[in-house]
């Protein structure tokens, strides 16, 4: 099978890989690059566990071909904390018990980050809308919604 070169920036670092044509970004990140923070829950674009941020937009890495990411800037949950200091979203998920099994958590955090990047002070309905593509089966959505609202509040306090 033809190998395709692909270069992108992942969490601030340059990555260059040869992938089989048709390889999903999820597989490339997890199996070739070794960033296992995006999770494969359904591999068909319905659970949101594999969500990553590509050029500022929330994307499902299981439905994104790696070869289409040439030159892109990609963020995953594993790159969110800087120098060991948790991102406000990570801190809020931790403090408000918004992670139980943790499998949906990286995708949830990515979805929440895109929301807060565009809408720093979202309403509860906007949080619900932003997380609607991410399925959680054990934590329950209420603590997750609270975590996002908490992070938004702490962000606005920092900015003030």
């Amino acid at each position: 099978m033809a190998k395709v070169p692909v270069q992108f920036t992942l969490n601030g670092s340059e990555k260059a890989e040869f992938v089989d044509s048709g390889t999903t970004l999820l597989h490339a990140l997890r199996d070739k690059i070794g960033d296992t923070s995006p999770k494969g829950g359904c591999h068909q674009g319905t659970c949101g566990a594999c969500s990553v941020i590509i050029d500022g937009e929330l994307r499902l890495s299981c439905l994104t071909l790696a070869e289409t990411c040439n030159g892109a800037t990609i963020s995953t949950t594993s790159g969110l904390s800087e120098s060991g200091v948790l991102h406000p979203l990570q801190r809020a998920f931790l403090d408000t018990f918004a992670t139980q099994c943790g499998f949906c958590t990286p995708g949830m955090i990515m979805a929440a980050k895109v929301l807060l990047d565009h809408t720093p002070n979202p309403s509860r309905d906007e949080v619900i809308e932003a997380l609607s593509g991410n399925i959680c089966r054990c934590t329950g959505y209420e603590p997750i919604i609270q975590a996002v609202l908490t992070a938004a509040r702490s962000n606005s306090q920092n900015a003030a």
Partner: protein, 455 residues
């Protein structure tokens, strides 16, 4: 949350250091940073992918299996059939002396449900394993199947599982689990009203976000490390040891991180065959259910049917209860004989009833084997019992919550299985519930206690 310290004040301890104190979960920092290692986050060089060839029929005899075309498919490394499995017939609860062994790791001579594992294909890539699996030819003679529990119990029904010899699990108490307390017929004869209702449920899939699976690494010296998301580590270790006829000291299981389970990951299904694959190829093996397999192949909560007949007095006392429960095990036992047994223990409900008669059957049908799920054996029972309680209250024109106060078991009451009630606290819970839900009950019920009566 408000703690009502007036309850059980003389037995309450207020000097506890941990209970009532918030503690951070030890795994949360890993979860929020994406560092938690789930089993599928391990990726070893040279890892093979395992895919199952599954039965397209509910019940069929296997005339022949032809793997020759599949073996020629590029990337295929090994193909396993029943003859490759050292101890192919097993059952999970044999580890607590509940037999007989009734399930095959890979089907041998017969399939008993649609989706049953027949042939395992190990290949260099997931895609190659999938394509090769499609090339395995299995010649089936389709047999009559049975999908309904009452049909399965009728004389002349197709026999689902030869290891049992009949379509129900044979307990040491006979064809069902039984509870007998008082004289139920005399209770009905003396009751003001008798109400018989039947309730039934469908199978329910757990749908964990992380699908079932494992990754196996051969460590040399015939030892194997298995990274798995099982919820039943020692059942898995011990049963794998039996199936592979290997001492447990050669098997190193790494688990504890489960991406959702809800009881759906307590069966020993993926690990033995993946370890066997690693043993026979000398290479790492991963066997992960696709989402489709998770929804269709993994064992659901059992479908149940519950028939409840209650005798009740105009003043609200339940004087007799007769329950017949049916648990649909599907084609194999897994945890279902235990689930049906739990139902037998549970059907009196949290109520003191002087005359009780209970039979619960674990029935085999050609459906997907059912197994554990969050309170299996009692949750459907509770649904049926509490709907029945509401109907009984309506029948005698009584408030449903007050009706429950009258019948609630209290400390010192003898339960139907002859275990005296201790530490019930049910009255107190219902008092709090009536306040929280703003559902008023008469003052005399608020003055009741589960703590003193007869104790």
């Amino acid at each position: 949350m408000e703690l009502r310290k007036s309850y059980f004040a003389d037995v309450r301890k207020d000097d506890l250091h941990e209970i009532g104190q918030p503690r951070p979960r030890s795994d949360s920092p890993g979860h929020v940073t994406g560092k938690t290692a789930f089993f599928a986050d391990r990726n070893f060089p040279g890892m093979l992918h395992l895919k199952m060839v599954r039965s397209p029929h509910h019940h069929a005899r296997i005339r022949s299996i032809d793997t020759s075309e599949a073996e020629k498919h590029p990337g295929v490394v090994k193909i396993l059939t029943a003859k490759d499995v050292p101890h192919n017939v097993y059952t999970i609860l044999i580890l607590i002396q509940i037999g007989p062994e009734d399930e095959t790791v890979l089907a041998d001579g017969k399939v008993r449900w649609k989706g049953e594992a027949v042939v395992a294909v190990l290949a260099e890539t997931e895609r190659a394993a999938q394509e090769a699996a499609a090339k395995v030819k299995v010649d089936y003679e389709v047999l009559p199947a049975v999908f309904d529990m009452e049909e399965a119990l009728k004389p002349g029904a197709p026999l689902v599982n030869e290891y049992h010899g009949q379509n129900y699990y044979l307990y040491d108490s006979g064809e069902c689990r039984k509870v007998r307390f008082g004289d139920v017929e005399a209770g009905f004869a003396g009751a003001d009203h008798v109400l018989e209702q039947s309730y039934q449920s469908s199978p329910i899939e757990h749908a964990p976000t992380e699908t079932t699976g494992c990754v196996v690494m051969p460590e040399g010296n015939d030892r194997f490390t298995c990274y798995t998301n099982t919820q039943a580590m020692f059942f898995t270790l011990d049963n794998t040891s039996i199936i592979l006829q290997m001492p447990g000291s050669k098997l190193h299981f790494v688990g504890g991180t489960v991406g959702g389970g809800f009881g759906g990951k307590v069966d020993v299904i993926v690990e033995p065959i993946a370890i066997l694959g690693a043993k026979l190829t000398g290479r790492p093996v991963c066997f992960i259910y696709s989402r489709e397999e998770e929804m269709q192949i993994s064992s659901p909560r059992a479908a149940e049917k519950v028939v409840i007949k209650d005798g009740v007095m105009k003043d609200g006392r339940i004087v007799a209860r007769k329950v017949t429960g049916y648990t649909d095990a599907g084609a194999y036992s897994r945890h279902s004989p235990y689930g049906a047994q739990k139902g037998a223990g549970h059907y009196p409900g949290p109520y003191t009833i002087p005359n009780v008669w209970i039979d619960t059957y674990c029935v085999y049908t050609n459906r997907t084997p059912s197994s554990a799920m969050r309170g299996f054996g009692v949750t459907i029972g509770d649904f049926a019992l509490e709907v029945q309680m509401d109907k009984l209250a309506r029948l005698i024109g009584m408030d449903p919550l007050e009706f429950r106060f009258i019948n609630a078991y209290r400390d010192g009451d003898m339960k139907a299985h002859r275990q005296p009630t201790e530490g019930a606290a049910l009255i107190e819970c219902m008092q709090e519930a009536s306040r929280a839900a703003n559902w008023p009950v008469a003052e005399k019920y608020l003055a009741m206690s589960s703590y003193v009566k007869g104790a």
